[in-house]
């Protein structure tokens, strides 16, 4: 057992840190999304270094992997500093294209992803198909040379700045529900697609936009079908395992928790210093242990990812990370007395950042497969418990 990073890994981490020191401006900071011109430019600079396509073959625009763990080191450093991360574009979409798509699609889309030529939305969720994605209804009808798509999606992040949708649709309404779904790549400017915003809870400047999408006889060329028809559900499940890990790097939580501890270290209420109070000290200490457990589960997921899709570890990472994020936001507020409710202004702890954290933490617990969904995955795939319908676990491919 060796918990240390190798000298090569540390050297790569150093290279990433130097890049971030040089390129991370205030305009770029503060979101994992590639949603503004400054953030797009930042990510393109990473693309120029070959960091988006690490580990993919050069014929698809990839670059040699400097180290097996390079992607994780890169993402951890990005996340730690509040930079846009290498998330779904590479982790979910490029990985799935590489494993299941046709040669033409690989040659077409992989280089575009690795050069950061456009952003992607993952367009799965519907009003009646949330946790139960298999129930989706948005219909794609085979019209010979194209599919005709009609229906709606909601809670779609990134749609308002995306170029393409990685979209799941129902292609066979008569098949058992998991066996009639396919994945399409859809241009955002397709005729028949319209969109309206759904903002998450929060104060101005901290909200997170998601979107509602409507499709009215939208045409999608047959060439945009990813992999095999009606196999989409399995691609989604496999990709969600990647996404849980890619999006939920633990590094930003460590940073945010450290900020809270630092705030308490310096706080002084008319001479009363919270860090001289035993209850405050022990509460912060208890949370520090729980945060450290998160770094351990993240390590387990990283190591497992070297061998196979870390489905169970990713689910643990998701469940623990999201739960802990909520616990320490609540803890930070609970120790604050009435000041916990302040949302900015003179006496507001961390300029309202803790209240923001609390609201965001709730969102994080339900995003990308909720905490309880993750626990079901652990129960079934690791512990071998039967699923709620008493059926054997769906095969994963």
């Amino acid at each position: 057992m060796d918990f240390d990073w190798s000298a090569e890994e540390e050297a790569f981490r150093q290279e990433v840190r130097e890049f971030i020191d040089k390129e991370l401006t205030d305009e770029v900071k503060g979101s994992i999304f590639i949603d503004t011109p400054a953030r797009v430019a930042f990510v393109t600079k990473m693309a120029d270094r070959g960091w988006l396509g690490m580990g993919f073959p050069e014929e698809y625009g990839g670059s040699p992997n400097p180290l097996p763990l390079a992607q994780f080191i890169l993402n951890a450093e990005l996340d730690r500093t509040g930079s846009p991360i290498i998330g779904k574009n590479v982790g979910t979409i490029a990985s799935t294209i590489f494993h299941v798509a046709s040669e033409e699609m690989k040659k077409d889309f992989l280089p575009k992803i690795f050069r950061n030529e456009g952003q992607w939305a993952i367009t799965y969720t519907e009003p009646n198909a949330g946790t139960d994605l298999g129930s989706m209804k948005c219909r794609a009808i085979d019209k010979g040379d194209h599919f005709e798509v009609t229906g709606m999606k909601h809670f779609i992040t990134s749609a308002h700045f995306c170029r393409w949708h990685w979209m799941a649709v129902r292609t066979d309404p008569d098949a058992p529900k998991h066996k009639g779904i396919s994945i399409l790549i859809v241009d955002h400017d397709s005729p028949g697609l319209s969109m309206s915003p759904m903002d998450t809870i929060g104060r101005e400047g901290t909200t997170h936009r998601t979107n509602q999408l409507f499709f009215d006889k939208m045409k999608v060329p047959k060439s945009r079908l990813v992999g095999k028809i009606n196999e989409g559900f399995y691609y989604m499940m496999q990709a969600l395992d990647y996404e849980r890990f890619a999006i939920l790097s633990f590094a930003s939580r460590v940073r945010r928790f450290t900020n809270i501890v630092d705030w308490y270290k310096n706080a002084n209420f008319n001479g009363e210093r919270p860090i001289e109070d035993n209850h405050t000290r022990r509460t912060l200490a208890r949370m520090a242990a729980r945060v450290e457990v998160g770094t351990m589960l993240e390590r387990m997921a990283i190591c497992k990812a070297q061998e196979e899709v870390p489905a169970v570890e990713a689910a643990m990472n998701k469940a623990w990370g999201a739960t802990i994020g909520d616990e320490f936001a609540q803890m930070g507020l609970d120790l604050m007395g009435p000041f916990g409710g302040l949302w900015g202004g003179q006496h507001s702890p961390l300029d309202g950042g803790l209240a923001d954290e609390y609201l965001m933490a709730g969102h994080a617990r339900v995003a990308a497969g909720g905490v309880d969904t993750s626990k079901s995955i652990i129960a079934r795939r690791l512990l071998g418990l039967p699923n709620a319908l008493g059926k054997p676990e769906l095969p994963t491919r």
Binding site: M1, L284, A288, A289, V293, W320, L385, N387
Partner: protein, 384 residues
């Protein structure tokens, strides 16, 4: 980074697992609980000696195996799976490390090979009549007289005190109510003036109150330096505490397996209860906590082996492992429903131990105070 056990560690784990399966059944544990005064099995102790386990962290020059803290963790976790009753952690980890670290040349040459050979058992006489674990609360007096020292006072929760040959006594020789002014003494269990009384516990372990009345001991019984007992003890205590975490994590994993198995086979409403999301949620939460506690324990041991400042990590490992074992034994028992609380049910062996383990070797508040010192009072904050 590679979180897989080495080939050597895997072998050690396999041997330990097979040994425990064969020799440490629930019936064996119950027999020790009900019929043994000493709280352990001398024959098994000799087998530990033959396997080299008693000297696992003792340097090779003193007949030990000279293995790492992490290796010890791997072994003790298997003992924990079988809740194996033995004075292993106090003898072969705590005393062995304290003597290796602070003993004189003569003490090391004499005492360490005895431990390796299974000839001497140690007990840890630390806690007194205080809810707290901080060394400040130690009052047992060691005053000098012409021939050495005279001990007066009482120690509580001295596990295996009756079986022990030697008591590792932490006594006050200097300044009161302080971390300093403490000295470690290696006291012959059979010295005049020592009386023991068993303290009944819910885990039915063999723990004792030990009263010292004018117990005379020679100066040569001091381990390390006068008045500097705490700084000699703390690093050894950290190793033993990590061993204890490994033990309780092992016990937790075992309980979890029993509960999972039961959830798969117990049928109510025409289906196995493990199909219900509530039960799945419990078991998933517990296994996450166990993985976390286990990894954190190994990570802390790794830091110690690298010679790094590991105080904060050890404290996090102990605080979290303690919470976890309490939680796993409690919720795990709930999954069994009524049978989980019947005396004949073997998992009650775990239930009776869980809470007690949580409170042992420094309760959560002690280790949280240590974490707080490390993350708040030390500069800079280091959070991995």
């Amino acid at each position: 980074m590679d979180l897989k056990l080495t080939e050597e560690q895997t072998q050690l784990q396999d041997i330990a697992s097979k040994f425990m399966d064969k020799n440490c059944s629930f019936a064996f544990v119950r027999n020790i609980e009900n019929n043994s005064e000493s709280g352990y099995c001398p024959d098994m102790w000799q087998q530990f000696a033959e396997l080299g386990w008693l000297g696992i962290i003792i340097p090779e020059e003193y007949d030990g195996m000279g293995m790492s803290t992490l290796d010890m963790i791997v072994l003790v976790r298997e003992m924990g799976r079988h809740i194996c009753p033995s004075p292993y952690l106090f003898t072969s980890v705590l005393a062995a490390d304290a003597i290796t670290r602070s003993g004189s040349k003569e003490q090391k040459a004499e005492l360490l090979p005895q431990i390796v050979a299974g000839k001497k058992i140690y007990a840890f006489a630390y806690q007194e009549y205080s809810r707290f674990f901080k060394p400040e609360h130690i009052k047992l007096q060691a005053r000098t007289d012409e021939e050495g020292y005279v001990l007066n006072g009482s120690k509580l929760f001295v596990e295996f005190a009756d079986a022990a040959d030697t008591l590792l006594v932490v006594a006050r020789t200097g300044e009161a109510d302080s971390q300093s002014g403490l000295t470690l003494f290696l006291v012959d269990r059979n010295s005049d003036g020592i009386e023991t009384r068993q303290m009944p516990t819910m885990s039915r372990d063999k723990t004792y109150q030990v009263d010292f009345t004018d117990v005379r001991i020679p100066e040569s019984a001091i381990l390390g330096s006068l008045d500097e007992g705490w700084s000699a003890l703390e690093p050894a205590l950290h190793k033993a505490v990590l061993g204890f975490c490994a033990f309780t994590n092992g016990a937790g994993f075992e309980m979890h397996e029993h509960a999972t198995q039961y959830a798969k086979t117990r049928v109510q409403f025409g289906r196995p209860i493990g199909q219900m999301q509530t039960i799945q949620g419990y078991l998933a939460q517990l296994i996450m906590e166990l993985y976390g506690a286990d990894m954190l324990t190994m990570f802390s041991a790794f830091q110690i082996d690298k010679g790094r400042h590991a105080r904060g990590y050890v404290a996090k490992a102990k605080a979290f492992s303690a919470e976890t074992v309490g939680h796993v034994m409690d919720v795990g028992s709930q999954i069994f429903g009524g049978i989980g609380y019947m005396e004949e049910q073997d998992t009650t062996l775990f239930l009776r131990r869980g809470k007690q383990y949580q409170l042992a070797l420094g309760g959560t508040e002690y280790w949280e105070d240590v974490i707080a010192e490390e993350i708040i009072d030390r500069e800079p904050v280091v959070l991995t």
